[in-house]
């Protein structure tokens, strides 16, 4: 905190110093976190991504599952922003035809027609946050069907709109990280706590288990487990099965952090004082020890999420994770597996971008929290 302090003059405590002296632990953490610019940027990006997850339906303009062979593999379409010198965005509808020489499907914009693009217009009906009936979307077109005229990021092989699918995929992939990390957190805190607080035999056993788990190459193992999920399970069942499978990765690191904090705190004077005053074990753990390392756990948790997002993406990419009709970043990237197809339609690689951005953002934010976690240090 040295950089926050104003030098003391003649024993008089300045206002700034007093502010620091009476600040709560969380205030101190926040002040320090705020200074970490990359971490703040990461936090902003994550907030945005979770907003997208909340409003995925609002942000998409067509039903992500609506397919049409006639619109297969259309390239991203440019939006014309100005019409007659004024800001009136419009697009040209796209016409598909067979190339007479190569027999490939080619698309050309019909420049004689202008379809106006509107903000907050009407589109397909959905339920906002899963509850409120709604048909407003961020983008809509006037006097035309959006699925026939709007292709911001192009379409996939089955003619489904990539932008709308990306919105739904963001929701799945971002929440799967959160759900899995919650499960790992539970396992990690429980086992790490036992290990660190009691020590002795339980500690040895848990530490050996962690060591064994860490020395196993995880992906082949998870592939095996994921492949064993029954084929008739529905999206929700597979979703939770996958979260359980990938949460088995993350808990070891969390347990390690919790154990380390427990061991170092056990020797602190304030714990000794609490023991001498006759506090119960439960009170010592939850009233005295846990508050002083919650921030460390939050940091470790944040840093565990990216690995989970990558695991889900990898498993789904291989066809062993979430299965269509579920949509996630990994499911979307499955279309990019074929290199020849990718060269012809490079926009299929777009879903790789949010994965990289999300992983980076979580890493930056986690680093920032870790640096700020111990404000008295």
């Amino acid at each position: 905190m040295a950089d926050n302090m104003v030098p003391e003059e003649n024993g008089v405590i300045s206002a700034a110093e007093e502010k620091i002296a009476v600040a709560t632990q969380w205030q101190l953490i926040w002040w320090r976190f705020r200074k970490h610019r990359l971490a703040m940027a990461g936090t902003a990006v994550l907030a945005l991504l979770y907003l997208v997850s909340l409003g995925a339906d609002f942000l998409s303009y067509v039903d992500p599952d609506e397919s049409e062979a006639q619109r297969s593999l259309m390239a991203p379409q440019p939006i014309h922003w100005f019409d007659g010198g004024k800001l009136r965005p419009y697009v040209h509808p796209v016409k598909g035809m067979r190339d007479p020489v190569s027999f490939k499907r080619v698309y050309a914009p019909d420049t004689s027609v202008k379809v106006r693009v509107r903000l907050f217009g009407r589109g397909y009906p959905y339920r906002l946050f899963g509850v409120i009936r709604c048909s407003r979307h961020l983008l809509a077109v006037e006097d035309a069907r959006p699925e026939e005229s709007l292709f911001i990021l192009g379409t996939d092989v089955q003619g489904r709109d990539l932008w709308s699918r990306l919105m739904s995929g963001t929701r799945t992939s971002m929440t799967i990280g959160l759900v899995s990390v919650t499960l790992s957190l539970f396992l990690g805190v429980f086992l790490g706590g036992i290990s660190g607080y009691f020590g002795g035999l339980p500690d040895t056993i848990i530490q050996r288990i962690i060591e064994i788990l860490r020395s196993i190459p995880t992906i082949p193992l998870w592939m095996g487990l994921a492949a064993a999920l029954p084929a008739h399970w529905d999206i929700v069942q597979v979703y939770f099965a996958i979260t359980i499978i990938i949460s088995l990765i993350g808990w070891t690191e969390l347990a390690r952090v919790v154990r380390g904090r427990f061991i170092s705190l056990r020797q602190e004077d304030f714990v000794m004082a609490a023991e001498l005053l006759g506090c119960s074990k439960v009170r010592i753990i939850f009233r005295h020890m846990v508050p002083s390392f919650v921030s460390h756990i939050i940091a470790a948790t944040t840093l565990a999420i990216p690995a989970m997002i990558i695991s889900e993406t990898s498993l789904s990419f291989l066809g062993l994770g979430l299965r269509p009709p579920a949509i996630s970043w990994g499911v979307l990237l499955q279309d990019a597996q074929n290199i020849q197809a990718l060269v012809i339609s490079p926009w299929l690689l777009i879903p790789a971008l949010p994965v990289i951005v999300a992983v980076l953002a979580f890493n930056f934010m986690g680093d920032g929290i870790r640096d700020a976690a111990d404000p008295y240090g």
Partner: protein, 359 residues
């Protein structure tokens, strides 16, 4: 993410210092005890992996006979209930699960890994060279990781907050954020779209099926860099960060100031003492790096179409060819354990504190 702290613990037996014994004797005792503990842990890990692999074999509904019947009826012939029962008895599938596990282990110890159903050939035949190639690729990736991470980590620590330090940190973050298979996709795409070349594979078409010769080996070496970089890059990013922070901790210590005050030249001050100490957690992370790289190689092999066990495993899992899949998981696991054990021995060689049995 492998962390430096806490990694080498568990391997240090209590000090067996007795003034009567000579130093050498104490050395050997500490070493033997360390090796014994590590070896025990390796055996335990192998057991755990074998149980997990066996679970994978048994997870899908039905057993070998059900899939055999399905295969038979697909080709037109039928199997009666009695025949199926006889087959189950013969294969021991009606016995309790732990007996089946012990039998499976018994067969494996005799070198019999069962049949790959889809291929109609013994599992070992199908795996063939692929396991060796997986090892070769993983080792290449680790060599790449070390060759890059060590000098960059030292540089970043010594010239902290310099332009290059920031540049490496930035590249490292990007390397961490891009999963290997995605990097492989991007490289394949760039190779195809801009250079018209297929950068995948481990051999040129001429050598793909050829027997081993020096020419084929050289062909393999020429194809190694891309998979090694793709697999190694995120590990490199982690290793740089570990090396950097370890060395920064060491550089602050008084003995470095002492060395400087004594007038040693800077290269010697840094390389001879702090780097050697900082190397310890760095070496011990190889135990975590190896499973990580092997894991990654499975997916990356699919994208880059490398002839490793990766594509085979995926095919086996999709076809529910569980003996093949289970064997591959088991072999990868055992391979990793052996690698980790070797790295433990290496750690002992690098760090005299472990060798001497002192913390």
């Amino acid at each position: 993410m492998p962390q430096a702290a806490g990694a080498p613990e568990g391997g240090c037996p209590p000090p067996a210092a007795s003034p009567a014994r000579s130093g050498r004797e104490r050395d050997q005792k500490g070493m033997a005890s360390y090796i014994a503990r590590r070896f025990l842990l390796a055996i335990l890990t192998v057991l755990a992996i074998s149980i997990l692999s066996f679970t994978i074999i048994h997870l899908p509904p039905g057993d070998y006979v059900t899939s055999f019947i399905a295969q038979m009826s697909a080709s037109g012939s039928s199997v009666s209930e009695a025949e199926a029962q006889a087959m189950r008895t013969q294969l021991g599938l009606d016995r309790p699960i732990y007996i089946q596990y012990l039998k499976w282990m018994g067969l494996i110890l005799q070198g019999n890994f069962g049949m790959a159903m889809e291929w109609g050939r013994p599992v070992l035949d199908v795996i063939g060279d692929r396991l060796t190639l997986t090892i070769v690729i993983s080792l290449a990736a680790i060599v790449f990781t070390w060759a890059l991470a060590l000098p960059i980590g030292i540089y970043s620590a010594v010239r902290r907050y310099s332009f290059l330090d920031y540049a490496f940190t930035f590249i490292g973050f990007i390397g961490l954020a891009i999963p290997g298979f995605m990097l492989a996709l991007i490289i394949m795409y760039v190779g195809f779209a801009y250079f018209g070349a297929n950068v995948g594979g481990l051999f040129s078409p001429d050598f793909a099926e050829a027997p081993w010769t020096w020419a084929r080996f050289w062909d393999l070496v020429k194809h190694l860099p891309i998979p090694a970089v793709v697999l190694g890059i995120s590990g490199t990013a982690q290793m740089i960060r570990i090396m950097r922070s370890n060395l920064l901790d060491e550089l602050r210590k008084p003995y470095v100031i002492t060395a400087r005050a004594r007038g040693l030249d800077e290269t010697r001050v840094i390389l001879k003492y702090p780097v050697r100490v900082a190397l310890n957690p760095f070496v011990s992370t190889i135990g975590y790096l190896l499973p990580y790289v092997v894991s990654g190689s499975i997916i990356v092999s699919l994208v880059l179409s490398l002839p490793t066990v990766g594509p085979l495993l995926l095919k086996a899992l999709i076809a529910q060819d569980m003996f093949l899949a289970g064997t591959i998981v088991l072999m990868l696991g055992v391979m990793t354990v052996i690698g980790t054990f070797i790295s433990d021995l290496l750690l002992m060689w690098v760090d005299p504190r472990i060798r001497l049995g002192r913390r």
